[in-house]
């Protein structure tokens, strides 16, 4: 079993007082909490952090940990063994559990403090426990999709790390592959629930659920806002001035669209129901921009000169006093 240096995890000294420990935890929790962090492996870091804080914030547990840290046998490879006959006085399940997500704590924690409800010592080898049952853990996993996949639906193979109770009653993790058919019309940040695909229940408890969080990769043309899509559509100056019929891409294929005469930069035209699915479906907003011709020929320069002479237009009128 690997030794966990809780002081190192929290970045505090062995003599740190409870205020220092709390402050260190809050800073690191802000950095690694899966709900607020965008760091890689945030969840793994946060589990370690939660475990370290659970021990060091409680004077009794901290005292026990300090003793073990001092007297436990440590191998050269970092492995750790508690002294023979070790028994914690603050075992979880005796009211010592303080609300942290104990299901994620390490084997090291488990060996020292036990784990109320989920500790291996509380299981029977048939995985049941008399008079006690607990629902399995809910699992959360992000799933990345291209916008087209979200729009049309797609079948994906997911690799999950699922907790399970082995024949000795210990919690282990195993890799599982799950095929999921994502239905058409899911949006960014949306969640899909697969009932019963989470961690196993204990003592006849129901299994937990699996929550998949949809993350749609940025698209080169479309921006997603809730169920609506936005597309920047460049127009030639004369198309904007005179009006035109142009082809625009949508996720369901290209459609023809009428640009009204006298259109302006930044103006939005709506294609109703051409966004992501829903009740009602989202819309596609086409945002107009005016593009200049790339190279001016002599004839085009003359035409612009003619425009400059004949059209009384001051685009900076609003900047003048």
């Amino acid at each position: 079993m690997e030794f966990k240096d809780y002081y190192k995890i929290l970045g505090v000294s062995e003599t740190a007082d409870s205020a220092e420990i709390k402050s260190a935890y809050r800073k690191l929790a802000r950095k690694y909490h899966p709900d607020v962090s965008k760091e890689e492996n945030a969840e793994e870091h946060f589990k370690e952090l939660g475990e370290a804080y659970e021990v060091l914030k409680d004077p009794e547990k901290r005292g026990e940990y300090d003793q073990l840290r001092k007297y436990g046998a440590r191998g050269a490879d970092g492995s750790f063994r508690p002294p023979p006959g070790w028994q914690s006085a603050t075992e979880f399940g005796d009211g010592a559990f303080t609300g942290a997500d104990a299901a994620h704590f390490s084997d090291f924690f488990d060996a020292i403090f036990g784990r109320g409800g989920t500790a291996h010592r509380h299981y029977r080898t048939d995985g049941r426990q008399s008079g006690f049952s607990m629902r399995g853990e809910d699992l959360h996993q992000p799933i990345a999709l291209f916008l087209e996949e979200a729009f049309n639906g797609v079948e994906k193979s997911l690799r999950l790390r699922v907790p399970e109770v082995d024949e000795r009653g210990l919690i282990t993790h195993r890799e599982r592959t799950l095929k999921v058919k994502i239905p058409a019309g899911v949006g960014d940040g949306q969640h899909i629930r697969l009932r019963g695909q989470g961690g196993p229940g204990v003592g006849g408890g129901e299994p937990g659920d699996l929550y998949l969080e949809i993350r749609i990769a940025p698209h080169p043309h479309f921006r997603v806002q809730e169920k609506d899509l936005y597309l920047d559509l460049p127009l030639a100056p004369w198309e904007a001035a005179l009006g035109a019929e142009v082809e625009v891409p949508t996720l369901a294929g290209r459609v023809k669209m009428k640009i009204p005469a006298g259109s302006r930069e930044g103006q939005r035209l709506r294609l109703k129901g051409k966004g992501l699915a829903g009740k009602p479906a989202g819309d596609l907003y086409v945002v107009l921009s005016i593009a200049m011709p790339p190279q001016e020929t002599e004839s085009s320069r003359k035409l612009f000169e003619q425009l400059a002479k004949t059209v009384p237009f001051n685009p900076r009128a609003h900047l003048e006093d």
Binding site: V36, P183, Y211
Partner: protein
């Protein structure tokens, strides 16, 4: 709902409507906590009385997140309401930044 193998696949969006009791059971949260979130404006169910409240499926995730944040940061309700609001704003801003970066890269390449 789509049946997938032996499991039920549900999209948790505003097409799914849940009662206070269903939300409480499915999130493992006390009904009082959900009622507090309504009082603080974090959740805005349809219906007048708690018994008539109907919440969109997205609130299920929001409540689970609220429970984690309250537990891990020891937040009071007003702090929690503010944190949830700001987190949503950050999510939208991060998305906008990612899209702008994508477009900038396209223009440069």
């Amino acid at each position: 709902m789509v049946k997938h193998s032996q499991t039920t696949l549900e999209i948790l969006d505003d097409r799914l409507r849940l009662s206070l009791r269903e939300l409480s059971v499915q999130t493992g949260s006390h009904a009082e906590f959900i009622m507090d979130l309504v009082e603080y404006g974090v959740l805005q169910p349809e219906g007048g009385q708690p018994r008539e409240w109907r919440f969109p499926g997205t609130d299920l995730i929001l409540i689970k997140r609220a429970m984690r944040l309250r537990r891990d940061f020891d937040l009071n309700l007003s702090g929690l309401a503010l944190a949830l609001e700001l987190l949503e704003e950050i999510r939208m801003l991060r998305r906008t930044v990612a899209e702008l970066e994508e477009r900038q890269w396209d223009e440069e390449s």
